[in-house]
């Protein structure tokens, strides 16, 4: 099978490795570009969110490269992302493409369906083998998450502009080439050492910003206009609320989700609203309690759970006295607009911090 899948940040090399280990030909999607988005937006419903459009564009590009199977997955409501697989399939069939679609529901919600789909993908390999390659993929994913966190920490402290991003790219390349267990372990060590070698000034006290919001726009740098990098170059240390290893730990295997954020959110939003709506509310509180200087909420335009969360933001921001910037992203969003807003937000946080330091002294 020639298998393709949607592009999502650091998940892409992992998916590629799993599929190749299962003996499929992986059609690895390129990083999404403006063309990908335009292609997706052309065929997508107007009010579908930007992840839908980017992924649809990616599928179209991969199908043109000869993919015959698409792999995707999603939650079971009330966020609409779970229905995206079915609608993608319908739209692509309507455009005249022939392909097989493998869609994973959460295993606890639809165990039999999940088993059937997994069986299709697994082919003749044994379950033990599947378990082993998933474990291997997870260890690689953990390294990638570590590298991302290191980059987020070093970037605001780097001595030479852009050296962190360069080091990070090299480290990622190194990891991409590591395919077996021992290779991953040694490449992980090397990549970490590479990141450590980036010259940085540890005495700086950068502003700290927490990023919350919808998973795809958080994880896919193209979808959020390389926000992490932009902030890092403005001298801000960022921390996302979602990393893939934490996501796999909490959301796919169990449907109960991250208890910490949910418990914190209870007094404000006493109901699971799908997606990461309730997590976003709880995460604002957690960041405030951990002394962060501000929070940026990222969401695709017309994302329902995040709209619910956003309507609580003014109150949360007041109660915990933490500035929150909400950015809704769609295909019309301009890079300059985002940059201006980030600059203004960073200035605001900077002033707040120096004022509080003065008062403290």
């Amino acid at each position: 099978m020639k298998v393709a899948f949607g592009h999502m940040g650091t998940l892409t090399p992992i998916m590629e490795m799993i599929l190749e280990d299962l003996g499929h030909e992986a059609i690895t999607p390129n990083r999404p570009t403006r063309q990908t988005l335009a292609l997706g937006a052309k065929h997508a419903p107007e009010f579908a969110c930007i992840p839908f459009k980017i992924v649809l564009g990616t599928y179209l590009e991969c199908l043109k490269l000869g993919a015959d199977t698409l792999v995707s997955g999603g939650g079971y409501g009330p966020c609409r992302a779970g229905l995206y697989g079915e609608l993608h399939r319908r739209i692509l069939k309507d455009l005249g493409y022939e392909f097989d679609f493998i869609f994973f529901w959460p295993p606890l919600k639809k165990p039999f369906h999940f088993y059937k789909q997994l069986h299709k993908l697994k082919g003749h390999h044994s379950w033990v083998y599947l378990w082993r390659i998933i474990k291997k993929a997870y260890s690689k994913l953990a390294v990638l998450d570590d590298l991302e966190m290191m980059a987020q920490r070093i970037r605001p402290r780097e001595l030479k502009h852009g050296s962190t991003s360069k080091g990070f790219e090299q480290a990622m390349d190194m990891m991409r080439q590591a395919k077996t267990g021992p290779e991953i372990a040694s490449a992980g060590e090397e990549a970490r050492a590479l990141m450590q070698k980036v010259p940085f000034d540890d005495t700086r006290q950068p502003l700290k910003v927490g990023i919350i919001g919808e998973i795809y726009v958080q994880l896919e740098p193209f979808a959020n206009y390389f926000l992490e990098e932009q902030l890092g170059h403005m001298g801000v240390e960022v921390r996302r609320s979602i990393y893939l290893t934490s996501y796999t730990r909490h959301d796919i295997l169990s449907t109960r989700g991250d208890m910490g954020s949910r418990t914190l959110a209870m007094p404000y939003l006493a109901q699971k609203v799908g997606g990461h709506g309730q997590n976003s509310v709880g995460d604002i509180i957690r960041y405030a309690k951990n002394g962060y200087n501000g929070v940026i909420q990222l969401a695709p335009f017309s994302c329902i759970p995040e709209i619910v969360a956003k309507s609580l933001v003014p109150r949360l921001s007041k109660d915990y006295s933490i500035p929150v910037l909400t950015i809704f992203i769609d295909e019309q969003t301009g890079a300059a607009g985002i940059q201006t807003r980030l600059e203004a937000f960073v200035d605001l946080m900077d002033q707040r911090r120096s004022r509080s330091l003065l008062v403290g002294a």
């Binding site: 609409r80 619910v308 956003k310 309507s311």
Partner: protein
Amino acid sequence: MSQTSLCLFCAFIIIFTGVKYLKRQIKVGIPRALSYYTFYPLWRVFLEKLGAGVVVSTATNRKILEEGIKETVNDACIPIKVFHGHVFDLAGRVDFIFIPRMISADGKSTFCPKFLGLPDMVRFAGVALPVLIDVRYNRKGFPGGLLRFFLAVAAKIGMRNPLTQIYAAICAIHKQKQYQRLLLKGLKPLEAIEVIFGQKKSHDFAGKGKNQKTSSEKRTTVALLGYPYAIYDSFISAGVYDKLVRLGVEVITFEQIPLKEMRRFSKIMPQNFFWYYSNQVCWAGLYLLEQKSSIDGIIHITAFGCGPDAMVDKTLELEAKYAGVPFLSLTIDEHTGEGGVQTRLEAFVDMLHARKTINRAG
């Protein structure tokens, strides 16, 4: 003697008024928006039988819309904004505002996330409000979800007599069933509410609905699909329903299709939606498309930025395309103008008439 009786009389009056004051009827406000159009009789009868007075907010007008827009998050859809306006309209007039957290009405599907977070969105909108009755309406899981809902509402307004509660619940369910029968006959929700609460008789609205269908075999029929809170709030939908009737078109909405018939499609659709209203809209569309030549066109009313509708709209569009039925998607928002809607409806209906003539000639 007369003095004593006068004293007694005075004392009696004081005690009586005092008791009356203590037993002052509590007033519960129901916003005339969102689930009002589907569940109003159920709620009103239950609350009234418990001894509470029910106040409904005024029909949507410019002021309500503007108040709503001012305090609601700007990315929300217009029905949500209007809902906030209705709540603010009730604030200060009532002791409680009834905003149940709609989670599941049929035990399977859920509601749009905005419905799920609605009480919280309203509570933190930054306007002083009376106590909210934000009880969960959830018929999922263990049987008796409706009972749980009723008990929780009764507890919230402080009616603890179990016999009254059960009696009120039975009356409420009875009226709700009657309401649904009237909707099936082709009455609009507001008309059906008037009939149920005795302002008008059912035959006042005769000449509508099924009994006329046989005589009007040749009239152009349009399926007006969309959520009841968008279609029947004639202020935000710019009166689409009435405009179509005035254009001489027979209108079918999803309320006029028996639920049993629609449920059939839950098995046929490759994947059902997660949401109550969206499923019904989509099933209704499939049902009408299946009944060959029962409709000449489909109009889908959707609110700007409506998340579920992005899915529903595309699905209906594709299905209508395969069935060869014209499809019009009308997006409404706070800037929707009467003229724009009128023009588009006229063009669409003209096109349907022209198609009919051509088909008949061919």
